[in-house]
């Protein structure tokens, strides 16, 4: 009995000596690199651009290489095909954890994009499986109108708030998605001089957020708002948001307001899902309490997105 007890205590002390936390480095399964292609077709764009890169394993410290030998073909319905030309390689900022590396830009000029048409992309590059994707251009939005009301004027030089009211007709037969962007400048500034600043949407004191009563805005991407039509499918939809803008000065101490441009895009489902998940992943990064976010991918045989939108502008002066 005493021998057993003594031996047990000795073993106990020996085992205690070895107690400590340990970390083991893991070897993950090999990750197969694939091409990543991003292309967004717009009824408003004069230049169609495709950005080509490749995916890398997180344990791969190799920087991106330029992929300038791709053959990218864009076809509209049964129409003629257009081959996008390699334009340039864009090198981003190197980062030792996620090498920004290089992405390649392919362009085609003067492709006319029409609502209702379906465009397909086929891309091949030596050393990688071919990619393919397709997207249908959403129709133009009907009965789209805007108005500004409820001005809350700040003191001279300060920001001003107003209620931006927007209405448009949603198609009952389809699942539709929209993106709303507003600029603190008129149409001529945006399209002629290329100068424009985004308006910020407000819901004092926090930005406009989704809520159970009005499941309108799913997310905001940069300064735009993404929406789906679940709560207003088939309706003449009317909603309003707070916007904030600053007055301009004429050099003689007088203030004036430049026109505000509101762009309403009818976006494809791929556009909506891609930017919504991308935004969520960016927001969740670094938060140990949130689940990882998978970003939407619509490219067959690779990564990335082929998306589209039709767009309409309205200009209004406060």
């Amino acid at each position: 009995m005493k021998t057993i007890l003594s031996f047990s205590i000795l073993l106990f002390l020996l085992l205690f000596h070895f107690s400590c936390e340990q970390i083991v480095e893991l070897d993950l399964d090999s990750y197969e690199s694939a091409l990543s292609a991003n292309i967004v077709l717009s009824t408003n764009a004069q230049t169609t651009e495709l950005f080509l890169g490749r995916s890398l394993s997180v344990q791969d410290e190799t920087a991106y290489l330029a992929l300038n030998e791709a053959v990218a073909t864009l076809t509209a319905g049964n129409g003629p095909s257009v081959v996008l030309d390699f334009a340039e390689s864009i090198t981003g900022q190197l980062n030792v954890q996620f090498p920004g590396g290089t992405i390649s830009r392919y362009v085609a000029e003067d492709i006319l994009v029409f609502p209702g048409d379906t465009y397909s992309l086929v891309l091949s590059h030596p050393g990688y499986p071919a990619l393919s994707a397709e997207v249908k251009i959403p129709d133009f939005i009907s009965q789209y109108s805007v108005a500004l009301s409820d001005f809350l004027l700040g003191e001279d030089g300060a920001e001003h708030n107003a209620l931006l009211e927007i209405s448009f007709q949603d198609d009952v037969d389809t699942e539709d998605y929209y993106e709303l962007i507003a600029y603190n400048s008129g149409l001529d500034s945006i399209f002629v001089s290329g100068f424009g600043h985004y308006l910020y949407f407000l819901d004092n004191p926090f930005p406009v957020r989704i809520n159970t009563e009005n499941n309108l805005f799913d997310d905001s991407w940069l300064s735009s708002l993404l929406m789906n039509d679940k709560t207003f499918n088939g309706d003449l939809f009317h909603f309003s948001v707070q916007v904030q803008f600053y007055p301009q000065y004429d050099g003689q101490g007088n203030t004036y307001f430049t026109p505000i441009t509101i762009e309403l895009r009818h976006i494809s489902e791929s556009y909506y899902r891609y930017y919504r998940t991308l935004n969520r992943q960016n927001q969740a990064n670094g938060d140990p309490f949130s689940e990882p976010v998978l970003v939407y991918n619509s490219i067959n045989g690779g990564k990335g997105v082929m998306a589209a939108y039709s767009t309409q502008f309205r200009e209004i002066t406060p």
């Binding site: 694939a34 394993s57 998978l294």
Partner: protein, 796 residues
């Protein structure tokens, strides 16, 4: 005699015979009473009572009551219970008889004669998918930190999985931790974990029995989809005073029990508290003082159980039970510092993070007749969490920084219920009753103050809402012996939930059938539908106390499930075998959406969750030896568990985090001598499924109005949700107890080794950058290496 006269006589004889037989058939009497432990007076739940000749029998209910109706005549009635010496009584049944039985614990070292009559045999029981582990066996298992844990012992059973390393979380047949109805003396306990899930809140010294139902749920249970864990507290020794005190690496505990009035009433009081914070307190204070500060920090948990019962009459007994427990982190710190121009500064910080449960019940047992027994209860349960942080900084008399933050959540239930046992014949054991519960929810209130004295600062409260709800259920079930071979438990559970002006109704059929193939084996089948009105928002794989219980809403409907199981049971000499296959579907489950954090309290919880379904199926094999010097079991589970949410993994089915393809557990306890017993466990499980970054690729660049192109960063490629398997988990634990009987007390030294061969089991995996290798690496963190522990106890 003429033929006509003979016919008349024959007819008369036959008539008399039939009448006699009918009369004899109708002469049945009821034997009823209570079965208790001879030494302590504790009522024995599940003790077997049967007629040795006809095998008609019954078992005692939770209060030790039995009732058996038999034809009149000479009877040999056997009373038995696992671990106790059986008693056979010969009685002349010519009237209704009350017979109370006291069973004596068997000597553990006596040669045990294995006979077919020992307890209710596995093949005869209608109930499938359930296991009852004797508390003595739980207490003999190896421990971590010297703490016996009831929920961890359940994790050693097939179909029951633990969460992470050393977690006391329970995942039953692919269900989540919120889908377990955990009852303490019939009262639900909402958060059953101390120390973030490492230990359960149940002090094994205060517990008398634990029963787990994984499927085939009797109609009396409802409200959760995946399991019922029915835990009963000790009643206390109603004959003499006894106590026990022990000290281990983690906590110290004590229990005292004794009679209020001998053979009439008894009480039991127990308590447990960690003590490291008290021991380390002076050292921590000194450490603060060495830095010129006045402060202290620490963590502790405690829990207390109390129960009293009193026999008012031969027909009435009342019980009062109570449980309270709390976990708390705390920090207090203040210091002075030299400011500019000779001014002095002062800083103060106070932080508290605590959570706890409180349950109580008042019960009344009443014997209406020898066939009708009723239990009425008034119950209360509460779970609350509070996190508070405040700080202050001054320069001289001026406050220049002042802030306070508080987060609180709470759920309270007040309930009344009645359960009635009616045993009209040996072939029918009927239970029926109902329950009404008033719920009060406060799912997460955040308030904060911040600012300087001059500006007034911010003072706001967010998400402040109290939700009241009412829940009711009624049930009826019949354990029906149709024939010698066929026995069935048929039941229905009907429930209603009312919240925010909306009503939810549910009717849930329950069916279990047993077909006796022969005296040693049987086939069993069960089907049940379950509904769960409450949801648990659980954000991480660690059982955080911040997990919230929330009611259904217009958007978030009650969860539903159905489960079917088919099993085979066999009674071998010394060993019981069972094999079961099951299939379960769960609907309207909730989980946090991708990218959502529970820290985001500015948004309603409804907007943070996705709704989806689950599916699980598998095979469970179980062999158990209950008697003799060596006891234990081997369990193996082969299972699949899936989830499908439209907003997660792009609507594709993905494996549940705790989808473990293979799960093995081996438990052995052996009595070496009267004074020494040893135990060992070995467990193996396929690794958990987690989501790891696998690669990255460029996002769509941002193009501004001028046509300038900016990189939008990289997208992390995770592959699919839960697409990576952690390394398999396996470990061996050993324990040894040394007992020594002194004159008036017994002392027990318990030594345990957790993870004997120092297996580096995965706890979590994180990504890091190795500057020497200049590449990203993934590191697996293991929590517990080989971990010896001890405890010392005295019993009197």
């Amino acid at each position: 005699m003429t033929e006509t006269k003979n016919n008349k006589i024959s007819f008369l004889c036959w008539t008399l015979l039939v009448f006699q037989l009918s009369y004899l058939q109708a002469q049945k009497y009821t034997l009823h009473g209570f079965i208790e432990d001879a030494e302590t007076g504790e009522k024995l739940f599940g003790a077997t009572v049967f007629d040795v000749q006809t095998y008609d029998g019954t078992i005692t209910n939770e209060y030790g009551f039995y009732s058996l109706t038999l034809p009149e005549g000479e009877k040999q009635i056997k009373f038995s219970y696992l671990g106790y010496k059986e008693i056979v009584r010969e009685i002349e049944l010519s009237d209704n008889v009350e017979l109370n039985i006291k069973l004596t614990l068997s000597n553990e070292l006596e040669e045990v004669v294995i006979s077919a009559e020992k307890g209710e045999k596995i093949q005869e029981n209608t109930q499938m998918s359930s296991v009852k582990i004797p508390i003595s066996q739980i207490k003999s298992l190896p421990t971590i930190g010297g703490e016996v844990d009831i929920l961890k012992s359940l994790q050693l059973l097939p179909g029951v999985k633990s969460g992470n390393e050393a977690s006391a979380g329970i995942y039953v047949r692919g269900g989540g931790p919120d889908q377990n109805l955990i009852l303490l003396d019939g009262v639900p306990v909402y958060n059953v974990y101390h120390l973030f899930g490492f230990y359960s809140v149940f002090n094994a010294d205060a517990i008398s029995s634990v029963e787990l139902f994984k499927g085939g749920f009797p109609a009396r249970f409802g409200g959760r989809l995946s399991s019922v864990i029915d835990i009963r507290m000790k009643e206390g020794n109603n004959k003499s005073f006894h106590g026990e005190a022990s000290i281990g690496l983690i906590s110290s505990k004590a229990i005292l029990e004794g009679p209020i009035k001998k053979n009439k009433g008894s009480f039991m009081v127990s308590g447990r508290r960690t003590y490291l914070d008290l021991i380390l307190r002076p050292f921590i204070k000194k450490s603060f003082r060495d830095n010129g500060e006045n402060g202290v920090t620490g963590y502790y948990f405690f829990d207390a159980n109390a129960k009293a019962n009193y026999k008012l009459s031969n027909k009435d007994r009342i019980f009062l039970s109570f449980y309270g427990g709390q976990d708390k982190f705390y920090l207090r710190n203040e210091y002075n510092y030299d400011g500019i121009n000779g001014s002095s500064g002062y800083s103060r910080t106070k932080a508290d993070f605590g959570w706890g449960n409180l349950t109580s019940s008042l019960r009344w047992n009443h014997l209406f007749s020898d066939k009708l027994f009723a239990n009425s209860s008034l119950t209360f349960t509460r779970y609350g969490l509070l996190s508070a942080y405040e700080g202050e900084k001054r320069y001289g008399e001026q406050v220049y920084e002042l802030y306070a933050f508080k987060y609180a959540s709470d759920i309270q239930d007040l309930g009344v219920k009645i359960d009635i046992d009616w045993l009209p014949s040996p072939h029918h054991s009927i239970r029926f009753g109902g329950n009404a519960i008033y719920h009060n929810f406060q799912p997460g209130v955040l308030s904060f103050k911040a600012g300087e004295e001059e500006t007034g600062g911010i003072d706001t409260t967010l998400n402040q809402q109290k939700i009241n709800a009412a829940e009711m259920y009624i049930f009826a079930e019949d354990d029906w012996t149709i024939s010698r071979r066929i026995k069935a438990n048929l039941g229905v559970h009907g429930s209603m939930f009312h919240v925010r002006g909306k009503n939810y109704f549910s009717g849930q059929p329950r069916l279990s059938v047993r077909y006796l193939l022969n005296e040693k084996s049987s086939l069993k089948a069960s089907y049940c539908r379950m509904r769960q009105y409450l949801h648990l928002l659980a954000n991480s794989s660690i059982n955080l106390p911040t997990d919230l219980w929330v009611p259904p809403t217009d958007r978030i409907k009650p969860q539903q499930s159905w489960q079917a199981a088919l099993g085979y049971a066999r009674d071998l000499p010394e060993i019981e075998l069972s094999a079961e296959v099951y299939y379960k579907e769960m609907k309207k489950m909730i989980t946090y959406k991708d990218g959502t954090s529970f820290l985001l309290v500015t948004d309603s919880w409804e907007n943070k969750v996705a709704i989806g379904n689950g599916q699980s199926y598998g095979l469970e094999l179980f062999a158990q030896k209950k008697y003799g010097k060596t006891t234990g079991w081997i369990g193996y589970t082969l299972s699949w568990s899936w989830r499908k949410f439209e907003e997660i993994n792009f609507g594709q089915k993905f494996p549940y985090k705790y989808d473990r393809r293979h799960d093995i557990s081996i438990v052995v306890t052996h009595q070496i001598s009267k004074r020494i017993d040893i135990s060992g466990t070995w467990v193996f499980g396929t690794g958990n499924a987690i989501t790891l970054p696998q690669g990255y690729y460029n996002a769509m660049p941002v193009i501004d109005d001028n046509g300038n192109i900016y990189e939008a960063g990289d997208i992390i490629d995770y592959g699919s949700r839960n697409g990576y398997r952690m390394n398999p988990y396996h470990r061996m634990d050993l324990g040894i107890n040394f007992k020594r009987q002194m004159k008036h007390w017994q002392r027990v030294w318990s030594l345990s080794v957790f993870n004997l061969y120092n297996r580096k089991n995965p706890f979590y995996i994180y990504q890091d950058y190795d500057y020497i290798q200049q590449k990203n690496v993934f590191k697996q963190v293991s929590l517990f290496p080989v971990l010896p522990s001890f405890s010392y106890a005295i019993k009197f």
